[in-house]
């Protein structure tokens, strides 16, 4: 490894600044801590917030996993992995269990996270009230006043328009009975995994220059009404065509005959399930 960069790309001062913001974020669950988002060798909006968190945290003994919409092998995930590996030489894995540091875009892995793991999520819009209030000055005051009627109003409008809550992803949550937080565009299916998570979850928005966190074992409640409770996407009657798994988040695909079929969204989980069933057939055979 012959590269003119400092370890993990950043100079030590930058890493310390990001870690300070991270510590503050952990101390105040759900509070968006501003930080000096750096120029990165990838474009803003391509995960620079998550990447900066990862680079500020990574050490020589870490094992890294990067996923993009559930896939370890998409272009974005691979580019980020290559940049990190070129400047740190850490071990890379696809297996959720083995990783100590996971950077993810828009999914929380199916394999439950553990206490020794940190999940870093990439966030495009960290402000849950942005759609009803364009001004940052105003939203900061709304958070200070704990005035979140706007977030509920958005859900109310959806019910009025569509007869049900129609958030596709990024369904707002209330954390630690205080802040309302955008959980990054993870599907509603993943929202319950935030609640009392064993792993530390950090969220970084590079373009918006914000870091916030879900500390381990923190109460996280998805916003809902008394008569319209929160409902994750339902895949209970779907089976993965490749590995036969049930009860995980599925992608819907359409084959050439125009018939829909389903496949695990979390590619590494799917592969693992396939290997498992192969082993079982070997033993039995």
């Amino acid at each position: 490894m012959k590269i003119a960069y400092n370890y993990a790309f950043f100079d030590e001062g930058s890493k310390r600044e990001i870690r300070r913001a991270t510590l503050k974020a952990i101390a105040i669950p759900g509070y968006q801590v501003p930080f000096a988002s750096r120029e990165m060798p990838i474009a803003r909006g391509w995960g620079t917030g998550g990447l900066q968190l990862t680079l500020s945290l990574i050490g020589k003994s870490d094992v890294l996993k990067v996923i993009d919409q559930g896939s370890d092998e998409s272009v974005n995930a691979v580019s980020i992995k290559r940049l990190i590996q070129a400047t740190t030489d850490v071990a890379i894995t696809d297996e959720t269990k083995e990783a100590t540091l996971l950077q993810s875009r828009h999914r929380i892995p199916e394999v439950p996270l553990q206490e020794n793991q940190i999940l870093v999520l990439q966030v495009p819009i960290p402000e849950p009230l942005r759609w009803i209030e364009a001004s940052e000055y105003a939203t900061k005051r709304l958070h200070a006043d704990r005035e979140y009627s706007g977030a509920w109003l958005m859900l109310f409008e959806q019910i009025m328009k569509h007869g049900h809550i129609s958030t596709g992803a990024d369904h707002p949550v209330e954390i630690n009975d205080r802040y309302v937080m955008a959980p990054s565009p993870i599907p509603r299916f993943d929202n319950p995994k935030l609640h009392m998570s064993k792993a530390l979850i950090l969220l970084g928005a590079g373009r918006e220059k914000k870091i916030y966190a879900v500390p381990p074992y923190t109460k996280v409640v998805s916003l809902a009404f008394e008569d319209y409770p929160f409902e994750p996407e339902d895949f209970s009657d779907k089976v993965c065509r490749l590995c036969g798994s049930k009860g995980v988040y599925m992608d819907e695909l359409v084959d050439e005959a125009g018939i829909a079929y389903y496949q695990c969204n979390d590619a590494s989980y799917c592969l693992q399930a396939l290997n498992q069933s192969d082993k079982q057939t070997e033993v039995m055979g």
Partner: protein, 281 residues
């Protein structure tokens, strides 16, 4: 002296100034001001020592020319602006013993959401123009702690019907409504949490006469049926004559005259009030 009745809203010595003041203008009498403006340091004294009381089921009129501090006073009462000094007590909050201007931001938010309603002259200020009419009403209910969609929908529908918005339009956005309809949605929104105090800031200005009559009827009905205490700001004396039981007259940020509406209109004492009444066409 024993007081017979506790006022629903009591304002004592409310002041609002823009600028720090200087030795020239900060004397207690504020002499040397040009209207409400200090020519030396440029400080504007928008409201100077305004005091009044509103009792249950009463409508208080506030008249005065434009720039006399009426709207500034209203926005201070609704915490849209921070008052420089003064005390405001409302009977619904800690039995009228705490100065609500000195409460924390969260408490003030609570008072605003639970105990007050406001209708602005400009519906853009009071409504979310791109959210449905019923959503706008729900916003106030949600802020007051409601979390049941069907209850809020029922309440919203009843209120909108009460202000004559046809049921088939309640899911439309106010941006597509006429000015009069927007104003009526605003009133419905202000009423949604049954506030004991309603602040109306030039509600009929800019509406055509038949719609004006409609809105005034509605306000009069609210006083009769719900016993709400209302503060009506207007520069239109006809509106004040029709609505208000008592009236205060403001000029250059000060209250220059107060009394029963009839008395003020028939027998004005202050030169400005005399001029105002006589310029009525």
């Amino acid at each position: 002296m024993e007081s017979y009745e506790i006022p629903v809203l009591a304002v004592k010595g409310l002041r609002k100034q823009y600028g720090d003041g200087c030795s020239y203008c900060s004397g207690p009498k504020k002499e040397g001001l040009e209207r409400n403006f200090c020519p030396q340091c440029g400080t504007v004294y928008a409201c100077q020592d305004i005091s009044f009381e509103v009792y249950e089921g009463e409508i208080l009129g506030v008249v005065g020319e434009s720039g006399s501090g009426k709207s500034t006073m209203m926005s201070c009462l609704y915490f849209d602006q921070e008052a420089t000094d003064g005390e405001v007590y409302i009977s619904g909050y800690e039995e009228g013993k705490s100065n609500i201007l000195r409460q924390s931001r969260q408490q003030r938010r609570y008072i605003k959401n639970h105990l007050m309603g406001i209708v602005y002259q400009n519906p853009e200020k009071g409504l979310k123009m791109d959210f449905s009419a019923i959503g706008n009403i729900a916003e106030k209910l949600i802020a007051a702690g409601h979390r049941n969609v069907s209850a809020m929908e029922t309440r919203g529908k009843a209120l909108l019907q009460h202000v004559n918005i046809p049921l088939f339009r309640i899911k439309d956005i106010p941006r597509n409504f006429s000015g009069g309809m927007q104003q009526r949605v605003q009133i419905a929104k202000a009423l949604s949490n049954n506030p004991p105090i309603l602040l109306l800031d030039e509600v009929t200005t800019g509406l055509d006469l038949s719609v004006q009559a409609n809105v005034l009827d509605l306000i009069k009905g609210l006083q009769r049926e719900l016993g709400i205490s209302i503060v009506v700001v207007s520069h239109d004396l006809a509106v004040i004559r029709m609505l208000a039981d008592r009236t205060i007259v403001m000029l250059n940020g000060k209250v220059v005259e107060e009394g029963l509406t009839d008395q003020i209109l028939e027998d004005p004492q202050h030169p400005y009030t005399q001029q105002l009444v006589h310029s009525l066409l």
